[in-house]
């Protein structure tokens, strides 16, 4: 975890704001563009930038922690950190255990990717990340789920023939499908799952929930949240106004500086709860 520390507080100190509360934010660090570990070994991604912005607006000092997805909810309720921003979809099952703020990403489509367009999605083997809403969906669909600890491994399982297709957030899959250079393709229709992605909090922590809900509302209202979504997920990403239906996008050119390309798909990780 040594890499996990992001001093959101620096921004605060620089702007002359004062902060007394230290809030520890947990993320998975393995789900680009939501969250990942960058070349410097630090957490980076849409949720890191958003989380830092939320903390700055709420006058909180925040640090980042990476935690394994499987134990991310137990460690939250055990107060080892205070909030989860890890592409976690708001689902009724998770809401029995933890609380969520309002969503900061709308429900986004999940998609199937496979090597050939005639992959058997109904009766075949579908690779998923365990504990995700996609895994729950496949388990109910009648197809045979093949679960992996990370999204990355579920995609690799399709490429090496272990599974017929992978089912995951479309926004997570899109850069990988693009990078595969035609080997992988999206098949079938997109599926919309979950209620969007929010910050996971302890149910008893109503004070932090209030603060975060307030600043998320403010960031939605002044358009800064949509700017962040566009920056990380591309101009065609579905933003929170919901005025635009998502279109299927083509592949997009990559900018040389490594910034997310505009065309990258919008992600939503809906996943699963850890626990």
């Amino acid at each position: 975890m040594r890499n996990l520390i992001l001093a959101a507080g620096l921004a605060l100190a620089a702007s002359g704001a004062w902060a007394q509360d230290t809030v520890r934010l947990a993320t998975e660090g393995a789900y680009p563009p939501y969250n990942f570990i960058n070349d410097q070994g630090q957490p980076d991604g849409f949720e890191i930038e958003l989380g830092n912005a939320l903390c700055e607006r709420a006058s909180l000092t925040c640090t980042w922690v990476t935690n394994d997805w499987d134990s991310i909810i137990p460690n939250l309720v055990s107060s080892n950190y205070d909030a989860i921003m890890a592409g976690m979809s708001i689902t009724p099952e998770r809401q029995e255990v933890i609380a969520f703020t309002q969503n900061y990403l709308p429900p986004a489509p999940s998609a199937y990717a496979a090597l050939s367009p005639d992959a058997d999605l109904e009766g075949g083997t579908i690779a998923v990340q365990s504990g995700t809403i996609q895994a729950a969906h496949i388990a109910e669909s009648g197809a045979k789920p093949l679960e992996f600890a990370t999204g990355e491994e579920s995609v690799a399982a399709v490429q090496n023939g272990e599974a017929d297709a992978v089912f995951a957030d479309k926004d997570f899959l899109a850069p990988l499908v693009e990078a595969a250079g035609g080997e992988l393709q999206f098949v079938s229709e997109d599926v919309s799952l979950g209620n969007g992605i929010g910050v996971g909090l302890r149910q008893s922590d109503t004070e932090l929930k209030g603060k975060l809900d307030e600043v998320i509302t403010a960031m939605k209202a002044d358009g800064s949240l949509n700017e962040l979504i566009t920056k990380w997920f591309g101009p065609e990403a579905q933003n929170l106004r919901g005025l635009r239906r998502r279109r299927h996008r083509g592949l997009h050119p990559v900018t040389p500086d490594g910034a997310p390309t505009a065309g990258a798909p919008v992600p939503t990780k809906e996943d699963a709860p850890r626990s």
């Binding site: 975890m1 040594r2 070349d39 640090t63 055990s78 990988l176 693009e178 149910q203 490594g258």
Partner: protein
């Protein structure tokens, strides 16, 4: 030179790639794993020795404690132990501190699903620098590994103590030694020979169990190898590449094989020293079979 990796090729690209901050973390995690092993092995051995002594105690309640420790910990799956025991242990520490530091606290510690203690009782404090959180996580990992492997070691040592020929103890007693003297001067020095094959197996298993560290929030070599080896798209890194996990895991394979090989050589020598001059019936056969086992 590494500021614009897209212009680099061949060796210079790799030099920059292999020295990113993320790779430095990967290299540092080897130190973390070795340190964990270096601390855990003696602690687990001590726990194992203590557990075995308890289990063979003639005072029934002590023997029950020793036997229960061996049976319960060996019976619980590692994953369950590492997921839940650590959280319970952390909560136990925090609860104790909570009772001491915040006697005036009037809210329940368990609120629904949530475990909440006063800020002053948190371990480490939420305002503590990140390295303290990491050290604490590492400390919990050492305790957990030690308890788990201590139970297995206790069973091995318990068996080894019974394997020492009864005649040795009887002879010691015939010389007028007390139970305590016979235990420390005759039984313990001789039982290591019988325990070593089992303990060396445990050591090998412990080496390979270190990837469980990430369940405890400590980033270990397998975590980094998986993250670094996963395919990287150009949007999120200056060093895009395909699925290189095979190469990273191959590197880990070499590391583990080299490490276990060195361990075998050291244990083999240790075995030779321990059996040196021990003239007991069946000893030569035992020595041969146990060194053979260590070698395989």
């Amino acid at each position: 030179m590494c500021s614009d990796p897209s212009s680099l090729h061949g060796l210079s690209w790799f030099l920059c790639y292999l020295t990113t901050g993320k790779h430095l973390n990967f290299y540092a995690s080897f130190g973390t794993v070795l340190l964990l092993l270096a601390v855990t092995a003696p602690v687990a051995l001590a726990l194992g020795f203590g557990g075995a002594m308890l289990a063979r105690s003639r005072i029934a309640p002590l023997a029950w404690i020793g036997k229960a420790y061996i049976a319960v910990v060996r019976g619980v799956p590692d994953i369950a132990f590492f997921l839940f025991f650590v959280i319970a242990l952390d909560q136990a520490f925090e609860y104790l501190r909570h009772r001491i530091k915040c006697p005036d606290w009037n809210q329940p510690v368990y609120q629904g699903n949530d475990f909440i203690v006063c800020d002053a009782a948190k371990l480490p404090l939420s305002t503590s620098p990140q390295w303290m959180h990491e050290v604490y996580g590492f400390f919990l990992a050492v305790i957990t590994f030690s308890i788990v492997f201590g139970a297995f070691a206790a069973n091995v040592i318990f068996g080894a103590m019974r394997a020492v020929p009864r005649a040795q103890i009887e002879t010691a007693e015939a010389y007028g030694m007390t139970h305590r003297q016979a235990f420390w001067r005759v039984l313990v020095p001789q039982m290591w020979v019988y325990a070593l094959p089992g303990l060396s197996n445990l050591w090998m298993v412990l080496i390979k169990a270190t990837p469980l560290l990430f369940l405890l929030g400590v980033e270990d070599i397998v975590y980094w190898a998986r993250d670094l080896g996963g395919s990287k798209t150009p949007q999120f890194t200056s060093f895009p590449h395909g699925d290189w996990r095979m190469w990273y895991f191959l590197f880990l394979l070499v590391f583990y094989l080299a490490f276990t090989r060195v361990s075998e050589i050291v244990l083999d020598r240790l075995m030779r020293r321990l059996t040196h001059g021990q003239a007991m019936s069946g000893n030569a056969a035992l020595r041969d079979s146990s060194t053979a086992e260590v070698r395989t």
